[in-house]
Subunit: 397 residues, 2 copies
């Protein structure tokens, strides 16, 4: 086997593969093709910014997973995956950005060459990087049935291992340092992009623990930090205008260590915050307390959401939608795991070592307020926060 | 019309829409649905990190384009698009991450509500963010035919306007500063992530011109900077190990201004570079010269690639595949425009003010060398570089 500095032990990868095969059997999937980069990395260690071309991991009925991608990225797989060279397959550049041939023709050929042409093939119908055209071509060229295996692997990722929780602990230290840097740097008159330059610097420089310094990785969602009226929208990035007094900016950011994310949002008002924001802050903090208290092994995702929404209702604040999602290993464009949601209708049972971003943000008519926590479900008792940061609306003048 | 600080004039957006409608007519598309975030931004100004949920721009037979997305992102569209509120439509959070309903049901309803239920609907079959499932649901719910309109808008973006070239000039100044920062910072013993922190800092801090300071935006591909054997792979990001002497690192980075990219790659060897890398450097520089000389209005993309490959053949270096792609406005995960390619078989005619990343990188058995340029096709004469940076293999000790 190749001598590759893997993030996790071979045993852990073997466990992941076994879990995946159990789920395949339960879902009547004989061969699985995953192109979600997070699923690829979780199964094999593969790490590279190559998800903009067709690629994936094939899990067959037996043997190691197979990396399949562009030839130049097979080189990257040789440097990052645990599988032997025979299970790392590259297609030629003729298949890239071509209107005459499609990479999925090569994938069907590869699957057939393993003797799996007639097998029931699971594909991730609802996932970035599996395009409508890719599915049309693969369905045409694979002799066996295809079946929807969206989120099959994602669900296996929900409960974190000790090693994963260690990575997330490191990510939590990083996000604390990022917020410290923001508080040090922000002031009326600074250009917003200069503040973002500091956020990236802090996030990638990293942190340290008893084993020494460690570096940060890139987040699957880049910093969102809208101000004032712009903060009524959820997903604006930044511009280069100077920051003004008497407006609030929320900071939706994550610390990341080896692709493991710990998001943590805080809001800063330049100058004294208005009364309605202070009232909202109080509601959100009480909502987080009640939500965390409901976030226990054996309760459901819906219990957490209802606990939060009960506080909002009591305080006369209206909001709809999700207020959280599972979190861990991720690649752009989304850091969520895309399985359960923290919302009133979701009856997923919470289990120890599940981790989710509890995200009770308020996007109101004239401002936005984000105070959030990344939580870990414990064996007993309420959930615990991975990061340790003052939970409040900050003011700076 | 809303008072939004648009990056381009209303006239320019009107021109873009007219060009798009001409291409729609030529391709027998009556209604177009684009979910490529670059196409969305180019048509409407929309800018936000919301492409991880289903969203898009609808271009009907008449009227302004329509933004359609998640309700909270419709707020972002109100802050970034030129259209009136009636043309900015949001769907509820019930459609997000649901296994019971799909956002494409809402899209079909919206299209029908405009009276376009029977129209021939163009969709981007081969594009990120248009999943296999999305297409299945939309096809089922839209009464009219659907047809493949992949890259229809992308092709309209190939020739840049003066305003776009101005943005790219600003991005070019930024990427020069990023390389300066790398050369100042890199040394044996620095952790690679610390160097990356500086790259981000420089890129987002921005640059200045006669109109003052301006800030940088995020790149659609994050920095790639593999060292030594890792540089035999094309798309590795970074880790936190210290950088060692006697190895080369290539830096694949872009300066970005308001989503417009100017990529520029350079390679740095810590300590004296070996003879074979120096020979490769000479070949690549000669290849770039010959390629630039062939990159003239009226010639083809293939002419540029052949000029480069002729030099490699003469010098006995083997390489295959693409050596460039069009560049400009982009969102993750790819900064290319995904239309023509600089490769021997591509007979796309080059026109004045096309811009492309000429990318004659060499990924060899023991190292990688990237020396690249972003080029602009001129009215007459050879292509010109947008950035002004020494074109060589750097050494630092």
């Amino acid at each position: 086997m190749p001598d590759v500095p893997l993030p996790f032990s071979r045993t852990e990868y073997a466990d992941r593969l076994a879990k995946t095969r159990t789920a395949m059997a339960a879902n009547d999937v004989e061969v699985l093709f995953c192109c979600d980069p997070s699923n690829m990395a979780w199964l094999t260690g593969y790490d590279g910014w190559s998800f903009y071309v067709h690629q994936g991991v094939i899990v067959g009925p037996e043997g190691d997973p197979i990396f399949w991608g562009r030839r130049m990225d097979a080189n990257g797989a040789m440097r990052t995956c645990y599988m032997a060279e025979a299970d790392i397959l590259g297609y030629s550049d003729d298949f890239v950005m071509s209107t005459e041939r499609h990479a999925m023709q090569d994938l069907a050929r590869v699957i057939a060459a393993r003797g799996w042409a007639d097998k029931r093939l699971g594909v991730e119908m609802e996932n970035y990087y599996y395009s409508a055209r890719a599915h049309a071509v693969l369905s045409e060229h694979h002799a066996g049935e295809t079946t929807d295996a969206t989120a099959l692997v994602n669900w296996q990722r929900a409960v974190k291992s000790e090693a994963e929780l260690h990575f997330m602990g490191r990510a939590a230290r990083i996000v604390e340092k990022m917020h410290d840097r923001i508080l040090e740097t922000i002031r009326p008159g600074i250009r917003k992009n200069e503040l973002v330059a500091e956020i990236f610097h802090a996030g990638i420089w990293g942190a340290e623990d008893e084993d020494g310094r460690y570096g940060g990785d890139y987040p699957a969602i880049l910093p969102l930090l809208p101000t004032g009226m712009d903060a009524t929208a959820a997903h604006l990035t930044w511009d280069d205008r100077v920051m003004e007094k008497d407006a609030a900016t929320f900071f939706e950011i994550a610390g990341v260590y080896r692709r493991y994310h710990v998001p943590l949002c805080r809001t800063i008002h330049l100058g004294p915050a208005p009364t309605d924001m202070r009232a909202a802050e109080e509601a959100v903090i009480e909502g987080i307390d009640d939500g965390m208290n409901a976030a226990r092994a054996g309760n459901t995702a819906g219990d957490v959401a209802r606990a939060f929404y009960d506080v909002l209702a009591k305080r006369g604040i209206s909001r709809e939608g999700r207020c959280g999602y599972p979190i861990g290993l991720s690649y752009p464009p989304d850091w969520g795991e895309r399985t359960y949601s923290i919302r009133p209708t979701d009856e997923t049972e919470l289990k120890p070592d599940m981790t989710f971003h509890f995200m009770p943000a308020l996007w109101m008519e004239n401002w936005g307020l984000e105070i959030t926590e990344t939580l870990r479900i414990m064996e007993t008792g309420p959930a615990q926060c991975l990061a340790d940061y003052p939970r409040k609306l900050f003011e700076k003048s």
